[in-house]
């Protein structure tokens, strides 16, 4: 008999006024009892609407049934058939607009906590290591992967399982891409990312850090001199956007990328790290996405007294995951919605002395279908802050485009690919993730990595014949 409770099992979390002072994980994960109880809320319905909501089509009811039967490893294996990074996606996917949005239980109550169950299965698997994975027999073909974020890791994993000799090239000193430099420890512990990378290395994947493709080695050289038959570009959407308002180069104005990298990659919050971060007291984060929430919550944890989210639309339009918005509010982040910055004001030392904003109201829907924010005349005010973090998005890094002849891109920089195969305008060169789509989600990047792995496999196999 299914569990007909209208509400889902609550996720145990660290108390808000405790966690906003540390970097440990906020959500603690379901216990076995909670997981079984939640699994029993799944009706195992025939038409499985949740599966179509998943960008990588995980057989969701099947893995939930395994949890119900207390076969947790079995649940993990079901997820693994479709997803390479279950422990990551269980934590960072926007489930409320994907699988959980279509859950039948959501019609008359709360949908099944699919993301939480995915995380439970993955964590159980990680805590109960099985024997070392056997390395697949090598098939004699070499593939290079540029970038070790979710797209690159997924593509590398899928190809390695098929017997390809895969080398990942990473520009930074640590593999993981946005999973290590962007998403904070309290949302995605770095040990989990490392575990996924270790698994890839067990499969035979080589990870070369400190290599900037386009500078240290070009794509052409990878193929002509280094013997790679195909290359996958998963270089991400690295280039931060700024607001283009006066005062944006003052000391104390950061891109979210820089602020988060100093904290997450360089560990500037730890005492022994030599990477500096300033002890700001009043911080404004401009933007309403996950990155903005991450930056705001990091600033709070670093000891800032007042942290504001400044967003030009209303709460409904906030692009961040619902859970991150809730967590941010609980932790004391102040939401200044329907406000837009017009100028960053200096103090006498050329540091940030305040941020001038103007109030907005929602007008007619724009091209994105969301109501367009328009300025309310005469509503300017100054927000008293000493630090501004700009989290209004990123564009693809132009380095590879600039150093690869014949690589076709969109005007805004995104690499153009065949969506069925991931192939770019150059034979043997594939791409996926934010480098193609602009800033998107981990799961979409993963999906693109999978598509390209399949495309690369078919390409190399067809060449052989």
């Amino acid at each position: 008999m299914p569990n007909m409770s209208k509400t889902r099992n609550e996720m145990p979390t660290q108390a808000p006024d405790v966690r906003n002072k540390n970097f440990q994980e906020v959500a603690l994960g379901y216990s076995e009892e909670q997981a079984i109880d939640e699994a029993q809320r799944c009706l195992n319905c025939k038409h499985k609407p949740c599966v179509n909501g998943c960008p990588v089509q995980i057989n969701i009811p099947a893995f939930i049934q395994e949890i119900g039967k207390q076969n947790y490893e079995g649940a993990y294996q079901v997820i693994s058939l479709s997803s390479s990074l279950p422990a990551v996606c269980g934590r960072v996917c926007p489930q409320e607009v994907q699988c959980e949005k279509y859950c039948v239980r959501g019609i008359k109550g709360e949908s099944v906590g699919i993301g939480r169950l995915e995380r439970f299965a993955a964590d159980w698997h990680n805590a109960h290591p099985v024997e070392k994975i056997e390395r697949p027999q090598l098939n004699g073909h070499k593939v290079a992967v540029v970038g070790s974020g979710p797209a690159g890791l997924t593509c590398a994993g899928d190809l390695a399982k098929k017997g390809y000799e895969v080398t990942i090239y990473e520009a930074l000193h640590l593999a993981g891409g946005v999973l290590v430099y962007g998403i904070p420890e309290f949302r995605l512990p770095k040990a989990i990312v490392q575990k996924e990378i270790d698994t890839l290395q067990d499969l035979g994947v080589t990870v070369n850090t400190n290599v900037v493709i386009g500078r240290s080695i070009s794509i052409e050289e990878l193929m002509k001199e280094n013997g790679y038959e195909a290359v996958f570009i998963g270089s991400g959407a690295g280039l931060p956007r700024f607001m283009n308002v006066p005062g944006e180069n003052l000391n104390g104005v950061y891109s979210a990328n820089e602020f988060l990298t100093r904290i997450n990659l360089m560990k500037s919050y730890q005492e022994h790290s030599t990477t500096p971060i300033m002890p700001f007291k009043k911080v404004a984060v401009v933007g309403g996405g996950n990155v903005a929430m991450d930056a705001a919550r990091c600033a709070k944890r670093l000891g800032a007294e007042d942290v504001y989210i400044v967003y030009r639309r209303s709460e409904e339009e906030l692009p961040a995951r619902r859970e991150e918005v809730e967590h941010a509010k609980e932790e004391g982040i102040i939401f200044k919605l329907l406000n837009n910055p017009t100028e960053v004001l200096p103090n006498e030392k050329r540091f940030v002395g305040g941020m001038k904003c103007i109030q907005m109201e929602l007008g007619e829907p724009d091209a994105s279908g969301r109501r367009k924010p328009v300025e309310k005349p005469g509503s300017e005010f100054v927000l008293d802050v000493d630090c501004v973090i700009v989290a209004i998005g990123t564009s693809p890094n132009p380095l590879i485009k600039a150093t690869t002849d014949g690589l076709a891109t969109e005007k805004w920089g995104g690499i153009i690919v065949n969506p069925e195969t991931g192939q770019t305008s150059i034979e043997g060169v594939y791409a996926g993730g934010d480098a193609v789509t602009g800033a998107a989600t981990v799961i979409l990047a993963m999906g693109a990595g999978k598509t390209a792995a399949k495309g690369i496999d078919e390409y190399i196999q067809s060449k052989k014949n």
């Binding site: 000193h173 400190n210 000391n251 891109s255 990298t261 890094n397």
Partner: protein
């Protein structure tokens, strides 16, 4: 890990190292830079490539001991290794077609100016080098510069070597004497580059400066190295580090360079104390 093949103390605060980094050495050009991290707790710092040997696979870096990271780096010796060393980054200096150039270096900036002078010289350009130091003890790369230049001038603040005065004094004299350069390339403290650019603007001589701002990743991701050039925001790591000297907003660059000054002084002192304890 990147092994230190050679270490040479150039003066009490400036050290040269040849580092084994074949991938960087294969592609490096004058004007480009690398980013290194000394150890697992270390900061990522950019250093301009001072020289390279493609056959040996080594890259030469020259650094001034100014903070915690360079202090730690200076404690490494031949045979030790640097944890991370990535590059070459940035756009190489433009030297093509230049026939007559004044290369103006200040302090440790001479380490960056030298490979450019050398490349220009090897391309057959006439190179006039003007280098400035606080005093004779801080002078570096004298023989190297002499070899790469048809005229070489040393300026010191206290007159303990060469002529007493600033590099701008020497450059002005040359310009007033009728020397005409295709380009002036200047590398050194921001304040020096500001005044060299101010001088050459008056004389209408194209001037290129090499900027070395605070960076984290060095690949265009963080935007920490942004500066204003001709009213536009540029990233030194991907758009530079070379820029039109007449267009750079130096006052903003100087303010940004001082952002972590207090933090750095503190970290530097702590690191020095740590090393002192090890000695005792």
């Amino acid at each position: 890990m990147y092994k230190i093949i050679k270490k040479k103390i150039l003066n009490p605060t400036v050290t040269l190292m040849d580092v084994e980094a074949p991938l960087v050495a294969r592609k490096a050009e004058p004007g480009q830079f690398i980013i290194l991290r000394v150890d697992a707790e270390g900061e990522r710092i950019p250093l301009t490539v001072a020289d390279f040997d493609r056959e040996k696979g080594t890259v030469t870096i020259i650094f001034q001991i100014v903070g915690a990271t360079t202090e730690k780096l200076n404690h490494l010796n031949e045979g030790d290794s640097i944890l991370d060393f990535v590059g070459p980054l940035g756009v190489a200096s433009h030297t093509e077609g230049l026939k007559k150039v004044a290369v103006v270096g200040g302090g440790v900036g001479c380490a960056i100016a030298y490979p450019i002078a050398k490349k220009l010289h090897s391309q057959g350009a006439e190179v006039h080098s003007i280098v400035g130091f606080r005093n004779k003890d801080l002078l570096i790369l004298e023989d190297e510069f002499k070899k790469a230049s048809s005229r070489y001038f040393v300026m010191t603040d206290d007159g303990s070597y060469g002529e007493k005065g600033l590099v701008t004094d020497a450059l002005k004299k040359l310009l007033d004497a009728g020397e005409r350069y295709d380009e002036v390339i200047t590398i050194g403290p921001l304040i020096m580059m500001k005044f060299v650019s101010k001088l050459t603007k008056e004389y209408g001589v194209k001037t290129v400066v090499s900027m070395n701002p605070v960076m984290v990743d060095g690949t265009g991701m963080c935007g920490g190295c942004r500066l204003t050039v001709g009213g536009e925001v540029k990233f030194a790591c991907v758009d530079g580090p070379d820029f039109d000297g007449h267009e750079v907003d130096y006052d903003e660059a100087m303010a940004r360079a001082a952002m972590y000054k207090d933090f750095e002084r503190h970290a530097y002192e702590e690191t020095c104390n740590l090393f002192k304890q090890e000695v005792n």
